[in-house]
Symmetry: C2
Subunit: 557 residues, 2 copies
């Protein structure tokens, strides 16, 4: 490649999600006029996003420049990297690339949510490559907690832009398919313009245990359990599912599978040969009662947002088919994130109370899928990137990762800790923090995509704190008389039967206020309403120190 070409090219890299947060990973690489989107993930709503089901990235920049978007490339099949796809694909209509298992896992969901969609789903292989527009994209194998994960390298005139995806360096991957260290070394030799690498465990010293490490732990639990074994894990952790299947098989326990998503993943993985399920092993939940408790096991799942939802139902006694028995051994093979640690803790407590034994030990029954400090430095040393952009994870993790990069010799000025939407522009291999593209949260509530914004959320927060009072009155404006009301209806404020006196007083306040207004000839609706609201609000705050939402409805006849 001539010096001429190199200097003319313009490479832009930015995130639409995944920086300073956990989830909704989406990174964009622009080479001159063409764009490649790396991953399209969803995120669990934060606590203050009341009533929201799922959060996805704001893709308005991509939609605006739709013609320039050439492909969406998926690194692996986890929802924080693929879950937004079904919501955005109809707006972009570009081909989607991923490994066989990844495409297998998203296919159904995509069709279910977009029945008329014509998106081309293309299977690519670790070690392979493809062209999207003029851009050459190469794939190399990495290890993680699901099979068939891809690192992605994008060729540009200034060098490779390399995206690790989620990874760890696993010396004993259960499928014996190893990280492609050779390829990584090659990129290091050919020249990496910028490395985008997974920061999730950048604060964790040492190396992450292997996926294989849980195998022995789970097997011994199955062997020692006096009663049933119930395992809860993420449905997308295909390695772990295999270990549970193997443990059940070896200890001669029949296995019942609970949960649609778990069934679906097992079906797909079996069909695509990522999972071996012995014949006659799996029974239905109804058949459990035909066996002794030490002859059976149960595999159940939760969602990203609630990793132990099935267990939660069983513990509460609200599952139709299954309840917890004393002497059950419950294995929770999923690390709760800070956002659901509390709810998981409560379920564990309830299980203890019911007499179950609960096992959550790390790494006996659960390991992280993300590289720790030694592995992260190894990746940096292999890739020898000119520039480094720590991605994926809270800012403090990005900072910790930046420290590691500096330790391995990346120059401080070429380490870029940026926020979602910050565009890093490379010209002549130099980086300029160029501009900003829109990058925010799009909230999904039921069928609505993005129709719940700040105002609606603010109202939900207000309502959740102290409830609402609706004040209804019908006025005859000519005679200034009340035709009906004032009535007060409250929800979520106080228990009405025990607060009749308070509400009677409140009614009196409203009626006094309205009379005063009308005799003062203040009779624009808006003034009447705001007067009622102010007086009532002050009165209630004095009496209760609460601030319910007040909704005055004044009808006129």
């Amino acid at each position: 490649m001539s010096k001429q070409e190199e200097t003319q090219s313009r490479v832009r890299v930015f995130a639409l999600g995944g920086l300073g947060e956990t989830g909704k990973n989406m990174y964009v690489v622009e080479v001159d006029e063409e764009m490649i989107v790396l991953d399209a993930g969803q995120m669990i709503p934060q606590d203050d996003m009341l009533g929201i089901d799922v959060v996805i990235p704001d893709i308005s920049y991509l939609v605006q420049h739709k013609d320039r978007v050439k492909a969406i490339v998926l690194s692996h099949g986890h929802e924080d990297h693929t879950g937004a796809l079904a919501y955005i694909i109809d707006k972009l209509q570009v081909p989607v690339y991923g490994s066989k298992l990844t495409i297998g896992l998203i296919e159904d969901d995509l069709k279910a949510k977009n029945p008329s969609d014509q998106t081309k789903l293309k299977v690519v292989s670790p070690g392979g490559n493809m062209k999207a527009g003029k851009i050459r994209v190469e794939f190399f194998r990495v290890n993680h907690s699901i099979p068939d994960c891809l690192g992605i390298a994008i060729q540009t005139p200034q060098g490779y832009v390399v995206y690790t995806g989620d990874f760890k360096i696993d010396q004993t991957p259960p499928d014996r398919k190893f990280s492609d260290i050779g390829r990584m070394t090659d990129y290091g030799k050919k020249g990496v313009l910028v490395l985008l690498s997974d920061s999730t465990n950048a604060e964790v010293p040492g190396t992450t245990p292997s996926e294989k490490d849980t195998e022995a732990g789970i097997k011994s639990m199955f062997r020692e359990a006096e009663g049933r074994v119930i395992v809860s894990t993420y449905s997308s952790n295909v390695y772990r599912i295999q270990q549970v299947i193997d443990a059940a098989n070896e200890t001669k326990r029949k296995l019942a599978i609970v949960g649609d998503s778990m069934m679906k993943v097992i079906d797909i993985s079996k069909r695509l040969n990522y999972l071996r399920v012995p014949k006659n092993l799996v029974i239905s939940v109804d058949e459990l009662s035909q066996y002794n408790t030490d002859e059976v096991a149960v595999l159940c799942t939760g969602s990203l947002g609630e990793p132990v939802s099935a267990l939660h139902r069983m513990a509460k006694g609200s599952d139709r088919q299954l309840s917890i028995l004393p002497k059950d051994t419950v294995i929770i093979s999923a690390s709760p994130s800070p956002s659901n640690e509390k709810s998981v803790g409560r379920v564990v407590d309830q299980l203890y109370k019911l007499g179950a034994e609960v096992v959550t030990k790390y790494p006996q029954v659960n390991v992280s899928g993300h590289a720790s400090q030694e592995e992260l430095m190894f990746m940096l040393n292999l890739m020898k990137p000119r520039h480094f952009m720590p991605i994926q994870g809270e800012f403090r993790m990005q900072f910790a990762h930046a420290q590691l990069a500096q330790t391995t010799g990346v120059h401080r000025d070429r380490i870029h800790i940026v926020d979602n939407g910050d565009v890093l522009m490379f010209e002549d291999k130099k980086a300029i923090k160029a501009s900003k593209v829109p990058a925010g949260n799009v909230l999904i509530d039921g069928l609505g995509i993005g129709d719940v914004g700040n105002i609606v959320l603010r109202d939900r927060r207000l309502l959740s704190k102290d409830g609402i009072l609706v004040v209804v009155v019908t006025l005859n404006k000519k005679t200034s008389e009340f035709v009906s009301g004032p009535d007060i209806i409250s929800r979520g404020f106080v228990y009405v039967r025990e607060s009749e006196e308070l509400l009677e007083e409140a009614k009196q306040k409203v009626s006094d206020t309205l009379k005063t207004c009308m005799s003062d000839n203040v009779n624009e609706w808006s003034s009447l309403k705001s007067n009622v609201r102010d007086v009532l609000s002050r009165f209630l705050y004095d009496k209760t120190k609460r601030r319910p939402m007040i909704l005055p409805i004044i009808m006129e006849v």
Copy 2:
């Protein structure tokens, strides 16, 4: 004591809070007809207790048997052991006992909330004793993260009932006042009927680091910091406050104190000689700007519910007086509990983004105040209790503590893992799980104590999820005509401007439903309302997959 007396006595022990949960500690010991209440704590509301400020124990059993309650005895001055007092004292009107610092810390709050209260507050000393009714109560010193903590031993004809309170065995307590191992040994010799011991860290191996361990860590941060040092800690951690004061003094930094509760605790502790504050060390926040950044430090606090609330305001830029500067060193010397880990994490992230260095290391700047496994076993071995009741903490911690007790030789049948309200009755030194007394949560919202119950909370949860739609219509029943409306007002459902069409359709549905009803002569109000609610609910769920609360208001003229 004769065998005769012993067998006749009846000792009952139960918790009104503190079992299977973190907070609202309250334990009751009944000796024949007399009762002693141990601690009166509050708890942070759980996530689903929307709008609730504080949770306290249900004391209806105590109120019902008011004449038999002889004293409330406080183990130490933390809110999870004292915070309910101000809300319940007027209902019980019994003397309150505690160490000097404990009484000092609660006094003002008690008077502020109960101006006319005549409660006698009585200071007792570690090593001392007192009589409440016929019951002899003895006090022995334990270490924790606040000075002046008491273990409490209640003499009964069947042996001592010993309550450890919060404790750890600290070999280097900052005030050089040691746990009274001698007394503990004595109780072991005299005979402990039942030991109630702190389970908080029963899952943590080894021993808990000393309060002293943070001294060097904090000092070195003060020395190395290039800019300001900002320390956030619980205001009730008097030891930690002393270390911050000493570190500021030694490194020649002036210290500004932020937060009313911090000021209050410092004043009280200084007055009672639990804190030494050098002259000319403390400056006001306004004076900070008169010094270089490396000449000052700030000490700020949060609440039990939000341990870093002051930092949060600074990080958001919403504190009127202080904002975060790049090169600030922020020390967070408070372990977030699972219930606020997430919000603390978010503040930390924001601080990083603003260029501050954040230090949260354990045990360099923060240690636990609760005994780990080795110390818990030590306590069990000293006390040699006949019966054991692990208290304080989630059930899984109580279970872990029970395991430790078994290891030290307490017989399995004499270890009692019980729930709040379960009464353990001792007769002839044998335990019977007798009965149950009411023990639940009393929720405090503003000034209301217990007036928010399940119905109100359920409404708040519904409102928080999908908001509310108020449907208003005025009917002339004689002519079956609409006098006004139907109108729909929504809050927290959808952004109205973008959903006009949906709401227009909804109005039409309401109006169709009402017309059909009236022409079918269905004109009882309740039927009209439930018809409107059903039709609208189904319509909105079909269109949006949301279920807002629907409040039909039908006026009649």
